[in-house]
């Protein structure tokens, strides 16, 4: 496979996964909330694109008939409009991202509610259970995002010639990543960010200063989910075909955890390096899966090997390098800096 193709693939996935990893880092790295249901927020992004924006378009164009057929018709119509009028496509991207953000924010706030007061283990179990069940429902129920068959969505970049589409999309994703990164850095360097770290280290202390742990948790997961949801929306617009099965727990909960563990919890620069290392390994494994299978004479698919490898890597990191590639640095605010001098 051509090297520029591999390179684009790496940058595309680096962008998508970095957004999710930053969102998880806000929740787990900074606030210490083990969100084992990250995949849910990403799935919400897909629902925003395939379920909500699509329905809006169907209503706008007044197309009747069942959802799957109507979205097929809408796709061709909208693609034609976008190819002559780029602003429509760009507007659609912005609209989808906004809807995804709002949907993610609301879902995040609701899905942590039952367990927001509980200890970490109960929290993790509940979040995982909710995420897994929602995944199953949206896979089996054809009325949300098309169930097993998925649903096709308009190509928001229909005005760009086919060869350049993937490059432009990668740029859009990387731009979103830059915005997300700056937002996260800004957010976490405020008193709010510091109270999150304090909560991670010792909840009782935060409580004794009159802060409500539950409110903090709900707020943090809502923000994190909104960000992760945007990544899901971007991915869905890129593939222009939404299917629930591509939002599995392994891909969008476990891998992001692996990436932030690898990079270093509680610091966004580290997380980016972790994502990069992971994505390079993953893209290589996916690209050369047939070569791997035939050279090693594996009597099975290479994807299983990928699971085993990444699982082992996660455990090795936990054992040998729990602080990750780049260690979290103490926060040096202005008053502290003047004292240190």
């Amino acid at each position: 496979m051509a090297w520029e193709h591999i390179l684009t693939e790496i940058f595309l996935w680096f962008g998508l996964y970095s957004i999710v990893a930053i969102s998880l880092n806000i929740e787990y790295g900074y606030a210490g909330i083990p969100n084992f249901g990250r995949a849910l927020a990403v799935l919400m992004g897909a629902i925003a694109v395939g379920g909500i924006t699509n329905r809006l378009l169907i209503a706008m164009f007044g197309i009747s008939g069942n959802f799957a057929v109507a979205s097929g018709i809408v796709k061709t119509e909208v693609n034609e409009i976008i190819s002559s009028d780029p602003y429509f496509g760009i507007g659609l991207i912005i609209l989808s991202i906004v809807i995804a953000g709002i949907l993610g924010y609301i879902t995040g706030a609701i899905f942590i509610l039952p367990s927001a007061k509980l200890s970490e283990d109960y929290l993790a179990i509940t979040l995982l259970a909710i995420s897994e069940v929602t995944f199953m429902v949206s896979y089996y129920n054809p009325d949300i995002i098309g169930g097993y068959y998925g649903v096709s969505t308009p190509d928001v970049l229909a005005f760009v010639p086919g060869v350049y589409r993937v490059y432009i999309f990668t740029l859009i994703i990387l731009f979103t990543l830059v915005v997300t990164y700056l937002f996260a850095e800004k957010l976490l360097n405020t008193p709010y960010g510091r109270i999150l770290r304090a909560m991670r280290e010792n909840e009782s202390v935060v409580k004794s200063y009159g802060r409500d742990i539950m409110v903090l948790r709900v707020k943090t997961v809502a923000i994190g989910s909104a960000i992760a949801s945007i990544s899901g929306a971007l991915y869905s617009m890129y593939t222009a075909n939404v299917i629930a099965s591509s939002f599995s727990r392994v891909e969008w909960t476990f891998y992001p955890f692996l990436m932030i563990l690898l990079g270093g919890l509680g610091n966004n620069r580290g997380v980016l390096s972790g994502v990069f290392a992971f994505v390079v390994a993953k893209v290589m494994l996916t690209t050369y899966k047939y070569e791997i299978k035939s050279t090693l004479h594996l009597p099975f698919e290479a994807v299983w090997l990928e699971y085993v490898l990444f699982g082992i890597v996660a455990i090795l990191i936990l054992y040998y390098k729990p602080e990750g590639l780049i260690k979290e640095k103490p926060i040096i605010t202005k008053p502290i800096r003047t004292r240190m001098k």
């Binding site: 970490e120 179990i125 936990l318």
Partner: protein, 306 residues
């Protein structure tokens, strides 16, 4: 009738798995996210002996017990013990079991490919229902799964209440530090609980293909029911797992069936939603589970109302 029968069989299996989860949670205080894959491992043990040695899955229950137990020990010794020794946090341990779940999924998937390739028979998606038979008009799986539960309960009772090791085990479950001071080797009890947890899941796994289709990723689907069962009963009580298993298992099958009579069969895919709702209600009302409820107080309170 067939519906109730199916519900009881399913509940029996969920009880076994939930008891396994609870046992290790009590001794190691980490919820094992790989419990579902433990069961699927048992299913593949049964499939292997069926394909290569033509052993009926019922005959491979003891094998499921032993191999499952070994898997449990491996999980503890290879993954968790080193991390605990290093002073890893609970979240780190949970991530480790999640990673272990993925590793197991990888191995099971690879093995299923190999099995399909070497036997030429389906192994990536299989079911045992065609192997079942009837004893006096009652399906054998109902009798077998109930027998397995009864034997497990009797065995556990004797072990925990009639042997010296059982006293040590209970002591180290109640208060590990105090037990250690009294000269009990907590390490042994942990090891044993992981063996038992794997063994119970292995047995459940041998029987699971009689109830539902098995694919390598089945573990990810049943883990929701297992967690719901354990939490509803109370995550740190074996009796709770028994109670919770029947509540979740029965309502998952029966409530969905009742709803399907009203709304049509389309509702059947929502069976896990029922478990999830029970789980959420429990967390909101009694987060420590049913066993934490002081029933006497409830009765008194109700009496004072009327």
């Amino acid at each position: 009738m067939a519906v109730i029968e199916g519900a009881v069989i399913y509940s029996n299996l969920i009880v076994l798995l939930a008891m396994g989860l609870t046992l290790t949670y009590i001794t190691t205080s980490v919820p094992n996210f790989a419990q579902g894959s433990f069961a699927v491992f048992g299913s593949y043990i049964a499939l292997t002996f069926l394909r290569f040695f033509n052993l009926h899955p019922y005959q491979s229950i003891p094998l499921g017990f032993i191999f499952g137990g070994l898997l449990g020990i491996l999980t503890y010794v290879a993954i968790l013990k080193p991390l605990i020794k290093k002073g890893a946090t609970i979240v780190a341990l949970m991530i480790a079991t999640l990673a272990w779940d993925l590793i197991l999924l990888g191995f099971l998937g690879a093995y299923s490919d190999y099995l399909t390739y070497s036997t030429g028979k389906p192994a990536k998606k299989y079911i045992f229902t065609y192997l079942d038979f009837h004893i006096y008009n009652i399906s054998a799986i109902l009798i077998v799964s109930t027998l397995v539960i009864l034997l497990t309960l009797i065995g556990l009772f004797f072990l925990l209440y009639k042997t010296k090791f059982g006293i040590a085990l209970r002591a180290s479950m109640e208060n590990p530090d105090l037990a250690e001071i009294m000269g009990i080797n907590v390490e042994h009890t942990r090891l044993f609980s992981w063996f038992l947890s794997g063994a119970l899941s292995g047995m459940a796994g041998c029987l699971l293909p009689f109830k539902q289709e098995i694919v390598p990723a089945t573990g990810a689907i049943i883990i929701v029911s297992i967690f719901a069962a354990s939490i509803v009963g109370g995550l740190s009580s074996i009796v709770g797992a028994l109670l919770g298993g029947y509540i979740v298992g029965l309502s998952e099958s029966l409530v969905t069936y009742a709803l399907s009579l009203i709304f049509g069969t389309g509702i059947l895919v929502y069976s896990k939603v029922v478990s999830l709702i029970i789980l959420v209600i429990t967390l909101l009302l009694i987060p420590k589970g049913l066993v934490s409820v002081k029933w006497r107080k409830v009765i008194k309170w109700r009496g004072s109302i009327s």
